[in-house]
Amino acid sequence: MAIGTSRKERIDSLAESSASETGVSLAASAWRRLRRNPVFLVGASIIGLFVLLALLAPVLAPHDPGVRMLADQVSRATNSIPPAQEGHPFGGDQHGRDLFSRVLLGSQQTLLVAVLATVIGLGGGLTLGTLAGAFGGWVDSLVMRIVDVMLSVPSLLLAVSIGALFSSQTQFTVILAVAIVQIPVFARLLRGTMLAQRESDHVLAARSLGVRQRSIVFRHMLPNALGPVIVQSTLVLAVAIIDAAALSFLGLGAADDSVPEWGQMLGNAQNVIDSHPHLAFWPAACIIVVALGFTLVGESLRDALDPKRRR
């Protein structure tokens, strides 16, 4: 009656060989899907390229971005600005500084602003969101009311007000203003996913096992709630670049413009945008491409981390 033993063994061995010995974790399988996603590859290449440019900018830049080496070609009366010429592929800006070098070195500041603002915003948001999501009750109500107040002010307006609070504007005030605007976004997002985790069966299981509250929060709730926050932070990187540019554009950026930054360059170019649009074009194009890179990475991360799409 029984199935031939040799065949049965064959079936068993087949079944075993298909099942790998070591497991594939959630993160590993997300990474595997990410690697095969062309959207991620394009986004990551863009970001990689700009990070590389930023790192190598001091070497690559042909001139010092602060030196007015083409100042003799600038004339307020005739509204002339140095055009593209030998050694200066983009020409000069309205102060006679080499535009190409400024765009190159501008990547450093812009990326720095974006990353720092996002990290500070994420840190604040994580703290508040974890507090609210982990404790619930009145802590949750208190934190969320604060967050609601922050959210009720339009983000750029809030950033402008924060930027204006500081007596002397520096790059740091821009970073802080952009970061604070992002805190409520992160806090709300994390709190929502944390609360969902709080009600989930595996957290209940941990509670019934007698696992300590701290361990439940940091080992079960937070790691499982982080997915959407990670996605959001890549998107915020893009937003931060644009917000920082907007602040600089509105004159709330760093007062000292010897260190170039794309938003600030864009802002300074507005007076001459009719006659010399190229001054605005290069920094604007860079901002758009970098923001696009971060957005693409964020979107593909969202797909990869979605447990429903795992196979």
Binding site: A19, E21, T22, G23, V24, S25, L26, A27, S200, D201, H202, L204, A205, A206, R207, S208, L209, G210, V211, R212, S215, R219, H220, P223, N224, P307, R310
Partner: protein
Amino acid sequence: MSAARGESANVSTAPEEDRVLVEVDDLKVHFPIKRGVVLDRTVGHVYAVDGVDLRIQRGETYGLVGESGCGKSTLGRALLRLVDQTGGRVVFDGVDLSTLRGEPLRRMRRRMQMVFQDPMSSLDPRQSVASILVEGLRAHGLDTDRVATDRRLRELLTAVGLPGTALRKYPHEFSGGQRQRIGIARALTVNPDLVVADEPVSALDVSVQAQVINLLGDLQEEFGLTYLVIAHDLAVVRHISDRIGVMYLGGLVEEAASDALYQEPLHPYTRALLSAVPVPDPELEDRREHILLSGDLPSPAAPPSGCRFHTRCPWRQADRCDTERPALREITPGHRVACHFAEDIRDGRIARHEVAAEAVDATTGLSGVASTSAAGPASVTEVLGP
């Protein structure tokens, strides 16, 4: 699944009182319904569990059945102090759980564990099986020796019928039945006395359900466990339970030994429930009596007055059923029923009658008596005809 061997075997000679592991007295769990923008106002309560008394003996399997919304899951969770009770008390092995807070409660949790319905959502997707299993040990300081811990985990996996290689894998790499085995192994890591299994097989395929049911039985013998099994499937509950309690709208309406309950159900609700379960035997299906209940379960936020079941009861008698809530009383030894007329119904002194369906609102629980179709069509053909 008879009384367990092992460590609880020696207590079978102990006096009656000592054999009780869990004692539930007049347990109430009411969830407030809150409304309000700034300050939450309580506008009502969901009476999820509303006055339940029961005893669970050491080594037995107590089955709790009822339909969704009857409060059976809440009762199970209240018993484990996973939800806070509103009133009454739960005494576990002589310790009143409602007095415990913080660290003593956390340490107490080692002795009572839970198995969940959905084996996927109850396992943390980010943790490997090893880390899921070791967590309980660590929480109670039982993982001092790495070699011993590893050996214990492998023993547990063997006990639930999984290979040792499973330790390094993640929940999503297993089938539903295997995940449920992991969930059961997790509950057993800390050597509990009581396991509350909330719908342990209802998410599984039919052919796999039997494997898990058998496994629960084997583990009970091997580890001397006491079970509270909560399920809506009466056939499953009857198969694994020694005693069964039937719940309806937050209260226990009948309690009896498993066989007695199925041979002679005394409460009208139990009778209707049993007759509603489809049986895989066409001859019997054609022959047997079907008691169709009209209408839906009333909302637990607005339970009917008197006997909770009177709005749907085909044996309802005027006045007394609407006004007086029947107490759970012992009719024959070990068989308790909450019905004023249980004996009359059993002996056929009260006849069944038609019940008009009441409209039950899913959101508010307000009900209005339906205008039963005096003017409505008599059959489908009348509506669908040309």
